[in-house]
């Protein structure tokens, strides 16, 4: 187990973002707070529409025009990112905070040779001469595992496969030596075998360069592989966060229970009924009163429909927003299938 540095590189406080739409004000992010420590990987998990991508777009300063940051701060090296001007952003975006997107084809320029797209950064940001930039770009292509980089340098994105394209995108993101790397579902569009390779590369480069990574995904297997700490988002809020061990072996929020037990894994028996989170996520144009998850929560208490639960402390590293953790709440067991899986995992960990 890696020890996580306690030095905070990014502090997000009470971030609230809404979108102006024809139908009204859509509350995409509703008071999100988290810290990113130096050299760690923080995974943000949630379904589509939970606000995970919007949160990170705010941290990159690339929110669409219809979005409005209602309140909140994000401190990076003593500066509040959210109150910076576009001029100031230009010094930070891409150079200190870089991002990898889900679709590698649409994040590359289709009419520019890939090598040039990487070398460009060395020329523009590091002011290197052309020759030197080319050499560094080829070095970097080699580092992200592109075979025959000298030849590939002069090819166009369409000549690359999905996995190779994503490697180029990673190379571009790393060319400027960022402090923080935001990965927005970097492997969702890829096959499992390719995904495994890409995760390996991100993992290795992170250790080499002491990067701090925010990893957005909905695949809990990927989270287990990558994350030191995990934040679970639902309806624009973080409902539970803790270390990966906290979240996978001691989950407290019923939504986390649902996420963990709703997918079949290799040990699920055929024909066994899967645990299901009933219904669908709430419409954030009209966020429900009380806990947004109450409607779909089989363990909901009366108070869930009236008042939003605060963050309860489970341990020093582990917090969850559910009334079930209130001292007066009835004791509720986790779903049996999930409990079985957790026990099995812990047994396996002891055995190894």
């Amino acid at each position: 187990m890696r020890t996580i540095s306690t030095e905070k590189i990014l502090e997000v406080r009470d971030l609230t973002i809404s979108f102006n739409t024809y139908a009204g004000k859509l509350q995409a992010v509703r008071g999100v707070s988290f810290d990113l420590h130096k050299g760690e990987t923080l995974a943000i998990v949630g379904e589509s529409g939970s606000g995970k991508s919007v949160t990170n777009k705010a941290l990159m300063g690339i929110l669409p025009r219809t979005a409005r940051i209602e309140k909140g701060q994000a401190f990076y090296k003593g500066r509040d990112l959210l109150s910076m001007t576009e001029k100031e952003w230009e010094k930070v975006r891409g150079s200190e905070i870089a991002m990898i997107f889900q679709d590698p084809l649409s994040s590359l320029n289709p009419v520019t040779r890939v090598g040039k797209q990487i070398a460009e950064i060395f020329i523009l940001k590091h002011k290197l001469p052309r020759k030197e930039a080319k050499r560094r770009a080829i070095e970097l292509m080699d580092a992200v595992g592109i075979p025959d980089p000298e030849k590939r340098y002069n090819q166009y994105p369409f000549q690359f496969s999905g996995g190779m394209r994503q490697r180029i995108v990673i190379a571009i993101a790393l060319a400027s030596d960022p402090e923080i790397l935001i990965c927005d579902e970097p492997t969702t569009a890829l096959d499992v075998t390719i995904q495994a390779q890409i995760l390996k590369i991100i993992d290795r480069l992170q250790k080499e360069k002491q990067l701090s990574v925010i990893f957005i995904t909905h695949d809990l297997g990927v989270v287990a592989h990558m994350a030191d700490r995990v934040a679970v988002m639902y309806a624009g809020k973080i409902v539970e966060y803790g270390t990966a061990e906290d979240i996978f072996y001691n989950p407290q929020h019923p939504y986390t229970w649902g996420l963990l037990s709703s997918m079949p894994d290799m040990e699920t028996e055929e024909g066994e009924e899967l645990y299901v989170i009933q219904g669908s996520p709430p419409n954030m144009l009209y966020p429900p009163k009380g806990d947004a998850f109450a409607e779909r929560n089989p363990y909901a208490l009366n108070i869930d429909f009236k008042e939003e639960p605060p963050m309860f402390k489970v341990s020093d590293t582990h917090y969850a927003a559910t009334w079930l953790l209130h001292p007066k709440a009835p004791k509720i067991e986790r779903p049996a299938a999930l409990q079985r899986r957790i026990e099995k995992s812990l047994k396996r960990a002891k055995g190894v």
Binding site: E47, D191, K200, G221, A224, M266, E273, L274, Y275, S280
Partner: protein
């Protein structure tokens, strides 16, 4: 099992696509000699990475393409190639498909009732509008929607609900075989479980035979009675799910199985993925073929390779 139980048989199916002209002409062998049988009541899982030809196989079966060579038998009748009007009706009614993308597979200008009932009208299975409504309502209840949904348009539904409409459309003509092409991969995790549970229930109520095409091995294992792994247009290994997962032989199957991340951080951080390099196969001297290594477990390898891997 008796031969007459076989509902669908695919024999040496080849599907090539041509692109370009003259010197630039390229032939893509999307499906390159695939054979399998699906028995009545069975769920047959077809797994593989994108571009391996699994979707093309499904599409060739419902006659969206004209196969380059090979035969497809449905209920003992040859259905690849020219068919009489009567046989064509039998096929279109007997084989139905559920598509991956619930948004683009529903016509945005038709109501739910029109979408679901279209097959009945075309195949002249209903007398009048009242009977149509009755049948649509009956099926829509089975997939967890309600009667007031039938006059709405697709855009009014969420992704999960749209996939339910797609499933209702496939089920209404009481098909013998359903081809489900990645039916859950475009949906959110919490919705995926809902749809999988429902398909499992429908499988029992209607006694469905399903060809389940997916790239997610854990879903396929959970859902199928028999699994075939495809790579580069060929089936490289097939077996019952437990056998395949506990005792994989082909290097590609091994790599595929090792690449699935498991939601268990302590285990996941300590392990290594196996990578597959197709160039390890040297087929210049020995030709690979299908070998039955144990009853019902087939592997596509050359004899010497088989000896090496089967241990």
């Amino acid at each position: 099992m008796a031969e007459d139980n076989v509902l669908l048989e695919v024999k040496n199916l080849k599907q090539y696509f041509k692109s370009g002209f003259g010197r630039r002409k390229i032939i893509v062998k999307a499906v390159d000699g695939v054979s399998f049988k699906i028995r009545k009541g069975e769920t047959f899982g077809l797994v593989g990475e994108s571009g391996c030809g699994k979707t093309t196989t499904g599409r060739a079966i419902i006659r969206l393409y004209k196969p380059t060579s090979g035969e497809i038998y449905f209920k003992g009748k040859l259905i690849s190639g020219k068919l009489s009007e009567e046989d064509r009706m039998m096929v279109t009614q007997g084989i139905q498909m559920i598509f991956q993308d619930p948004i683009s597979s529903l016509n945005p200008r038709m109501t739910v009732k029109e979408i679901i009932g279209e097959g009945l009208i075309i195949n002249k299975l209903v007398k009048d509008d009242d009977e149509l409504t009755e049948k649509v309502v009956e099926i829509i209840r089975q997939v967890g929607l309600t009667e007031d949904h039938i006059n709405r348009y697709p855009h009014e539904f969420s992704g999960g609900q749209r996939q339910r409409i797609g499933i209702a459309r496939a089920l209404i003509s009481r098909p013998d075989l359903i081809i489900a092409d990645e039916p859950v991969s475009a949906l959110d995790v919490s919705i995926q479980a809902q749809i999988l549970n429902m398909l499992n229930r429908l499988k029992k109520t209607f006694g469905l035979t399903i060809l389940f095409i997916a790239h997610d091995l854990s879903v396929v294992k959970y859902f199928s009675d028999y699994v075939a792994v495809m790579y580069n247009g060929k089936i490289v290994e097939s077996a019952k799910p437990d056998e395949l997962y506990n005792n994989p032989i082909h290097p590609y199957t091994k790599a595929l199985l090792s690449a699935i991340p498991i939601p268990d951080p302590l285990y996941e951080k300590g392990r290594d993925y196996i990578t597959y390099d197709p160039s390890i196969h040297d087929y210049s001297v020995e030709k690979p073929e299908m070998h039955e290594v144990s009853p019902g477990h087939y592997v596509y390898l050359s004899p010497s390779e088989l000896e090496k891997y089967a241990r």
